[in-house]
Symmetry: C2
Subunit: 220 residues, 2 copies
């Protein structure tokens, strides 16, 4: 029958060495986006999360549906549902065998579809930095303002004024000072902040119903 296969592909970004990196799998058909097929009773978001776990082996912090596209010929038809994911910048946690991080500005040859998906993921990520708090998912629980600014600069690919950035961040009630600070060199220690959870999820303009429906309750 003409029923197409549905596959899930995940563009999982992380930050490493001042570069925006994406996780890619090395398969016998060349380098490609990590992908998988949803199980018969599995929500698409859950399938995407499973792809991250099984194919990348990294704990992701954020996962959002990007776009769906049909491709292939009538005999080998499939519909791909693409996801955008963010993972914490942590070099100690190595991805599984066959998976590696690639600088998005220096990618190996990929299929046309994968390239487009990655490009679009980057567009969406940049746009969302402006009107959401998505950037926090690149950082650990406690972080300095300089680290946060680094996230913005790396993703946007340009320098940001330090004073304006700090004023903007501290003016809303998005940041919570932890009181702690961190010494890490022969200079003044940085004060650490934490992200206020109440500002998550709300502003993302993603459907509120997305797959959470029956089984899951919202994590506090």
């Amino acid at each position: 029958m003409g029923s197409p296969w549905v596959d899930i592909r995940v563009v999982l970004f992380t930050l490493g060495d001042g570069a925006l990196c994406v996780a890619l799998n090395n398969s016998d058909q060349g380098v490609q986006l990590p992908k998988g097929v949803p199980r018969p009773d599995e929500a698409l978001d859950a399938a995407a999360a499973r792809v991250v776990t099984e194919k990348i082996g990294i704990a992701e912090r954020y996962l959002e549906q990007l776009y769906s596209i049909a491709h292939g010929d009538p005999e080998d038809r499939s519909v791909t549902v693409a996801y955008l994911g963010l993972a914490i910048s942590n070099r100690s946690e190595a991805p599984c065998h066959g998976t590696a991080w690639y600088d998005v500005n220096d990618l190996p040859p990929l299929s046309v579809l994968d390239s487009r998906i990655i490009e679009y993921a980057q567009v969406r990520l940049r746009a969302k930095l402006g009107y959401t708090t998505i950037a926090f998912h690149f950082l650990p629980r406690d972080f300095s303002l300089t680290e946060l600014q680094g996230v913005y600069e790396t993703v946007l690919g340009r320098k940001i004024d330090k004073r304006n950035f700090r004023r903007r961040m501290q003016s809303g009630d998005v940041l919570e000072p932890t009181g702690k600070s961190r010494r890490e060199g022969s200079h003044r220690p940085a004060r650490l902040f934490r992200f206020r959870l109440s500002h998550d999820s709300d502003t993302y303009l993603t459907p509120s119903w997305a797959e959470h429906s029956e089984e899951e309750t919202f994590p506090s």
Copy 2:
């Protein structure tokens, strides 16, 4: 096999009598969103356009992918790709048999999924009014500023200040004066404007590659 069916559902909005309306089909399973199944070699966007033509019978002006979701049980599994569409406010063009316009604030009983899709379509539409020129797709080629303001007010569900609205619209170079005007009552005639095409498509934050590739050129 476990390969799911892919179906397309379209939330087609129009404006009528100062209300935001959505096109719904009256089937033997009750009232539901117009839907269809993509052909073996058809792009998803093309399939959505075909749903509009065949199931609604209206010429849509804008069509954008919304979201995909898996549902059903393991034996009767499907993945729905939802679309948001806009059609021109034109009561003379009647939809096909079995299809009717419903005020979004006064909908008949619908499936949980359809209700959620419509609700999300409305959220996206409202949000996009703010940062795109999507509103123009509700109007004919030539229109008055009052008509344009009416579109915003109806979709957003609140009054807007006339002077601020006109200044904002006329300050960019989005509007082109036609020089014509329209008399339609015992009062001053309204000057008519036209939308500058160059401002379309760019700002929508939809993937630039989305299926348009080969066949279509932009309608003038």
